[in-house]
Symmetry: C2
Subunit: 362 residues, 2 copies
């Protein structure tokens, strides 16, 4: 069902409740930690089945209820107008309409505003991108892929093999009005840092290897996660090259299983098939020059490694446990940038060898 | 003179000093605050003429001296190999060579590593991009401009009018191997936030207005500043739309005059011709709906406004003083996103009106 239709039905149900003399209600799925489960069959985090019903005729819930309905009304309007805006743009639209009733702190992107939008996403089984809301974008792609992009009333086809040093910037929404029209790649390589992506792009690694070269540029945006899911759906293996530290592991596991706080997005934003190529502390055995390029692990790295050993979806993987224990034992970490220490072009050789020999962590 | 040649000469001078039985020295320009001046004739911050000579045969300077020479040697090698890397990549190359002598803390991008590279930039009158060092990239452009990009042994031409929702990502280096091959625009519009850039891109504002639509995505990277300088050199007016707050003002003044800590880059990275279109607290008079979309100024905004009134290159502009006083009086601020409060498409109308009526702050 189209998103506009879903929003209309949401309103219709409330109107009917009012007509019957009842107070309107809004049902959504609980996004609490206790209702977040690891779906073993699929291999990703998702919300469970516990529901929550909010009532307009409740002193505690009236204000939030009203705001949720206002967001539904505004985004319905954006869809009708065929215009997009950010959460901040939505905030000002609501502030214009609701005026003093709207507290700025309630609507800063990092805090409760997300909650209200997430309520709608979960209740209607849609993504915020389907509501014409744009989110932060960050990642890049290079490779033999073409994208047809319908946007602002125009259509353009972008050849991701001809973007020079810049690459193609992964937009906020890779579903609506966007289509992969051609794709010739054997696999997807995800490199944590833009700097290393640029290094590999300069070496034309994606051309030599017939792969798609992707960087989330740190933690993945929603757009990057969706794109990786779409590529995995096309049966491309997804290999990830991250730092061997708290942040690198987190970036990888967010791609693979999703993250706790965005678990409600489920498999649509997760790639359980993805594989961790490196870097790992074990790499030192094979490439001894890396030994003197390790650096001292920070407290956050040690703490994170300990935490990860407690997650059932991680500690079931013996290879991961072995690597995490190695970090805890040596109290050292290794950055992906270190692969350039001896020769700038070594990075590509390292990746090729890892893939050829199937040396990855699952 | 080419950068490689300059690096060679730097080494040759040192070799000659050693042959003469002297200890080698390295002369650079002082980048202290006391040697930072506002160049009134040009309209930007730059370093003065005070020099500093560092000696190898000095207990206090030997280590830094050695590292500076090591950086010169390594980057010379990058140029010979025709390969690029980041400062982090350079760090690992040095660590591989110098081993334990290299302290990680000395080389985190934010701290002293920059100092050593800046020494070289200033001493040789080059940019770090000329040393094949990549820096963080962030901004985007859309409009009737084509770029010829020679990179990684290949050449590609990118049409910035055909990049769909993504736009063209401004790379780290817009000089070496990069050329503007066609350009048909009446002016450049710089919009602080990517979200608003996307809004205007969706409205095809750049097409309707025949302008280049640029976002630095917050504070400008070096690449964005260089690109804006190059566009201003082509006699295009540069109009900026920022938040009316501490951060927005800082972003604008960095584009216009450069910033204190990067003053050594001088006019090559500054656009004294740029104009501040808005948003301003005065906008409320003309567009009363903005009144209820103002938000409380934070301490940092008030403090920054007070500081700016003390800068001679700012307080000479009566219009700026008037605006800053208005912020100090009302203790309110206004975000550019607020322009979308009444109608999403109002942003474009606002910009057109401001430019048509020459309503900008200089």
């Amino acid at each position: 069902m189209r998103t506009e239709k879903k929003l209309e039905e949401l309103g219709q149900v409330m109107v009917n409740e009012i007509k019957k003399g009842d107070g309107p209600t809004f049902e959504t799925t609980l996004r609490t930690r206790s209702n977040t489960i690891y779906d073993e069959a699929v291999g990703c985090l998702r919300t469970g089945d516990k529901k929550e019903t909010r009532k307009f005729l409740s002193v505690a819930q009236a204000r939030t209820f009203m705001q949720t309905v206002a967001i539904a009304a505004k985004t319905k309007q954006f869809l009708t107008e065929d215009l997009h805006t950010s959460i901040r743009g939505l905030f000002y639209q609501l502030k214009f309409t609701l005026g003093e009733d709207l507290d700025e702190d309630l609507f800063t992107e990092q805090t409760e505003s997300n909650q209200l939008i997430e309520d709608l996403e979960v209740a209607l089984k849609i993504k915020r991108e389907d509501l014409n809301l744009t989110t932060d974008r960050k990642g890049f792609v290079a490779g033999a892929m073409a994208i047809r992009d319908k946007f602002g009333g125009e259509e353009t086809t972008i050849d991701l093999a001809k973007q020079g040093r810049s690459g193609w910037s992964i937009p906020s929404d890779v579903d609506n009005g966007m289509e992969i029209t051609s794709l010739d790649a054997d696999y997807v390589l995800v490199v944590e840092k833009d700097a290393l992506w640029q290094r590999l792009n300069e070496d034309k690694f994606w051309k030599k290897e017939n792969c798609l070269l992707v960087t989330p540029k740190g933690q993945s945006t929603r757009g990057t996660r969706r794109l990786l899911r779409k590529l995995a759906d096309k049966k491309l293996p997804v290999y990830c090259l991250m730092d061997c530290d708290a942040w690198g592991w987190y970036i990888y596991w967010t791609i693979k299983t999703g993250s706790m706080n965005l678990a409600y997005l489920g498999r649509d934003f997760a790639v359980p098939e993805s594989r961790f190529l490196g870097v790992t502390m074990s790499d030192i055995k094979e490439f001894p020059f890396l030994e003197k390029l390790t650096i001292k692990a920070k407290d956050v790295d040690v703490k994170r490694a300990e935490e990860m050993m407690g997650y059932p979806w991680i500690n079931r993987h013996k290879d991961w446990v072995r690597e995490l224990k190695l970090v805890l034992k040596t109290k050292k970490k290794l950055e992906q940038d270190a692969l350039q220490g001896e020769r700038l072009t070594f990075v590509g050789e390292y990746i090729r060898k890892k893939i050829d020999n199937k040396e990855w962590l699952n």
